[in-house]
Symmetry: C2
Subunit: 269 residues, 2 copies
């Protein structure tokens, strides 16, 4: 038993899709969320800068006394986590581990597609993890840098979105994958349009959902449940405006978070 909070961070808002799933699966757990809204996006930055930002995000969550950390950011999970995992004594789980765990079990024809930010695809982390599980699986990767701006501007399923999906996914579809990892927390918001383009036979893997399942397995294995439902707390921290996070965060979580969001100076961590 361990009543400390679960820490979750993302470069911005997208990680709340993981938080929503964690809340569903673990009604007794307290959660501390950090969204690095003053330095978002991570996906276009250099590896060195992503390492630096990931360090400070973890240090902030550790300062809040969390028992484990979930990196809900596809970019930080793929470009930074493999290197920094050993530097911290607290367990750190990324969306990459979770998505790969699920994808290698889902594929039948051993062809997996992976889409993510520029930094995620450049890292090669998904393919490296998949090959650790099964060397014979073929992977097809593609950076989709316009997907995040499309989501953030409400283009979930428009003609523009369709054209950009065709630009990014035509080769992966032609390769005949039966499983596609949506390697960025924003992408599940394009799920309908992507599913229609890829066809019914292709299984789409959303890291936000998978990470909650993965966490369940880990918490069970290590018996680190909380049993303090009455004392359970959700708190949200951001590095830019509280107002815009509160408003949009409510949409991602499908519940109000007024008064639960605070601003911190992430450059101090």
């Amino acid at each position: 038993m361990d009543n400390r909070s679960i820490g979750v961070f993302d470069s911005g808002l997208g990680g709340l899709t993981a938080v929503k799933e964690i809340m569903k699966l673990f009604p007794d757990e307290s959660i501390v969320y950090f969204g690095d809204t003053s330095r978002v996006p991570y996906g276009t930055r250099s590896k060195e800068m992503i390492l630096k930002y990931t360090h400070s995000d973890i240090n902030f969550l550790l300062s809040r006394g969390v028992k484990m950390i979930v990196i809900a950011c596809g970019t930080a999970s793929s470009a930074a986590l493999p290197e920094i995992k050993q530097e911290f004594s607290v367990p750190i789980y990324g969306v990459v581990d979770a998505a790969v765990y699920s994808a290698v079990r889902a594929t039948r024809n051993k062809k997996i597609g992976i889409i993510g930010t520029t930094a995620t695809i450049r890292s090669g982390a998904y393919t490296a993890y998949i090959k650790e599980y099964d060397e014979s699986i073929e992977t097809f990767e593609r950076a989709c840098p316009l997907f995040v701006p499309l989501v953030e501007n409400g283009h979930f399923d428009t003609k523009v979105t369709e054209l950009v999906i065709d630009e990014y996914l035509s080769e992966i579809r032609a390769a005949g994958v039966d499983t596609l990892i949506l390697g960025c927390t924003h992408y599940p918001l394009l799920r309908n349009a992507i599913a229609r383009y890829m066809g019914d036979e292709v299984r789409l893997i959303s890291p936000g959902e998978e990470v909650a399942d993965f966490l369940k397995k880990k918490i069970n294995e290590e018996n680190r449940h909380s049993h303090e439902r009455d004392e359970r707390q959700y708190s949200y921290f951001v590095s830019d405006s509280v107002e815009s996070f509160t408003e949009l965060g409510g949409v991602f979580l499908e519940k109000e978070i007024d008064g639960q969001v605070s601003r911190i100076d992430i450059e101090k961590y």
Copy 2:
């Protein structure tokens, strides 16, 4: 006479379009450029964060001993410059002043359109400046948050770009403006597609070009020319990867800048 450098900054690469024009008009002047590539984009951040970042960018340029500063970033010029201008003794010119100066002289029917980032349009700075010149001019403003990602991903003149231009500019076109301010340094790269959509009779104002003309006027007025052509230096500083800036910067400037780019830690300023 004043042989110190002209300082120019932008949230990223876009300000190099202004630098190119300044180089053309002022072959004797040394230039120090800073691109805040570890914190780009500014256009989606809160006003408070834009103020903070703009302060540190100016402090960095002052540490390099510049004689004047050009804010080549539409967002910092509109959301921060009016408030912080008085805090510094060095002259600071923004692309807003320059674009407005030119637009109010260009319009015949006194209807000016303004497009920019979310933060630029939220600031209302363009309309406020225009009304200072001529209260009777009508303005039509629109945030175009997908334009920067489109430019950065090479969508200069594609079907996707056409659809997004129609989404953002249809009301401004319908309003019958005869002048349109492209209030973000990335937008001139969409000039062909925007010009075709708006029609030949609409004059497009590119702040990067205008700011160089504006600077010429100021430097002449104040007799602050440099006369050290033999000693003239161009130096570029960034807060993220030197490599990617060197590569893309060469495209913006249409000349090689290998070996002239250095990285700094902007959080120290």
